[in-house]
Symmetry: C2
Subunit: 291 residues, 2 copies
């Protein structure tokens, strides 16, 4: 039996545990510092134990299932586990600060750390919202460094394969730049739009008349403020660069609107439609718009 | 039998015809200048006739089921119908240019024109996508002017009630300002975001890794370029004002990200979440997040 110790039994950690339990062949430990999370983890019956294993070895994988800042703080404390031969991985949304935190570990141990990020989630959180199929058919991005040990990478890939995820490899920098564009910037725009409407003089009529598109567009504005304020601060430089690019495009649209240049607007909108279609076909396959 | 003549047998006109046919008690004429639309309207079997009635009177309502600019161009040609006692209404997304076009009609006839806009639609278009239940439980905004005849308003309200819509009344200016914020600006942001990503150096990885939120957020970027380039140009001033307000809020977020001010970001995101929740509860009722 391979052993996986999941530090953080929230939505992602809980979903990994459920999926591995269903796959079979894994001994699962779950550890959480919050008492309610421990109660929920115990009640779920998914974990074999709710403590850190007392001795660790090469058969162990430790998963940091927590946000970037917390994972970066925990990483140096895992030096003894790494020295005993364990592999360490994580699931956080921003990889740059974790790559930096690796600098606090001896280089011989660093090799056993594989940074990763599953592109899956929910507006809901906690073990209660966890789902063993959450990663089925979804991408997981691994960001191995030049000196990452192939055996450690292989062990982490085995976990994600068991969970049904498709594995992609990117550099730390590319991961943070891409996620800034596909996830962090859309969240930022949705939060800013809704926040602006809340302070608008037409607020009352706006609330009565929110259209269908608004609902889709702002669904992500219902996301957790703690998690998202951390993502925005930990991925600040990449997010601001993505925002700069977006604003340059938005200025082009603004200019065409101000000039009443219908032809330029038609061209830009048609191009956006074709781009979206290409992106969703690439990511989800044909028929992506089926319900 | 009350008679409704729908000029434009696309998604909205077709859906109105289907809904009124299902409600019963209406004679329905459908007129479209495009041959394929006429073929589809005939094939649907929904209309009693596909020509303009030869004589019109007080029992007639004419619906301009076409975009703002086309409706504004058609309006003056309906002077004889108005003189015969018919009521005229429309469904276009921007009301300002239509209120202006009313100036081309004698004031005695203007009273029989009731401007309106159902807050319902689809990314799909045409009679083939039409749905008699499209307006059920959705808002329709009527923007009567000071001199609009109460009898004309009553006839138009009767149509929307038969279609199951909830009737709201706003001034022309408030309508255009509110729709700029709840519909036109979200579309603009989605188009600009997707267009920016299409030109991004990370485009290839972005396409492979578009996350769930991106799909929701950019669904409206799949909308029709002809329709949306027209909406952006016809509602330019209100849209640019809404964009100014949005960008002011976005600058506040940008400042907090640049300053790594997690507390300010938490507060703004939590406020946005509460605002979205209040808006959807107001508009859709409790339990709005149920599937």
């Amino acid at each position: 039996m391979r052993r996986v110790t999941i530090l953080g039994t929230g939505l992602i950690g809980g979903s990994m545990a459920r999926g591995l339990r269903a796959a079979g062949g894994w001994t699962l430990h779950g550890v959480d510092t919050a008492a309610p999370a421990r109660v929920a983890a115990e009640a779920s019956g998914v974990f074999h134990a709710l403590t850190m294993p007392e001795t660790l070895g090469p058969e162990d994988v430790i998963v940091l299932a927590m946000p970037t800042a917390a994972a970066a703080a925990v990483l140096p404390t895992l030096a003894p586990a790494l020295a005993a031969g364990a592999t360490v991985t994580d699931v956080a949304s921003v990889k740059g600060p974790l790559a930096e935190a690796l600098g606090a570990l001896p280089s011989a141990l660093r090799r056993q750390v594989v940074l990763g990020h599953p592109i899956a989630g929910s507006e809901r959180s906690g073990m209660a919202a966890s789902d063993g199929a959450l990663f089925q058919g979804r991408r997981v991005v691994l960001t191995p460094l030049g000196d990452t040990a192939p055996e450690a990478l292989g062990k982490v890939e085995q976990i994600w394969s068991a969970l049904g995820a498709e594995i992609e490899t990117l550099s730390v920098e590319a991961h943070d730049a891409v996620l800034a564009r596909t996830s962090h910037l859309p969240h930022l725009l949705a939060f800013a739009l809704v926040d602006a409407l809340g302070a608008d003089p037409h607020r009352e009529a706006i609330f009565r008349l929110v259209a269908g598109g608004f609902r889709d567009f702002t669904r992500i504005a219902g996301s957790d403020p703690t998690m998202w304020s951390q993502i925005f601060t930990t991925n600040g430089p990449a997010l601001l660069e993505a925002l700069d690019r977006f604003e340059a495009t938005l200025r082009t649209f603004r200019g065409a609107i101000a000039a009443e240049d219908g032809a330029a607007l038609f061209e830009a909108i048609a191009r956006a439609r074709a781009t979206r279609d290409a992106a969703l076909t690439e990511s989800y396959g044909e028929g992506h718009d089926a319900p």
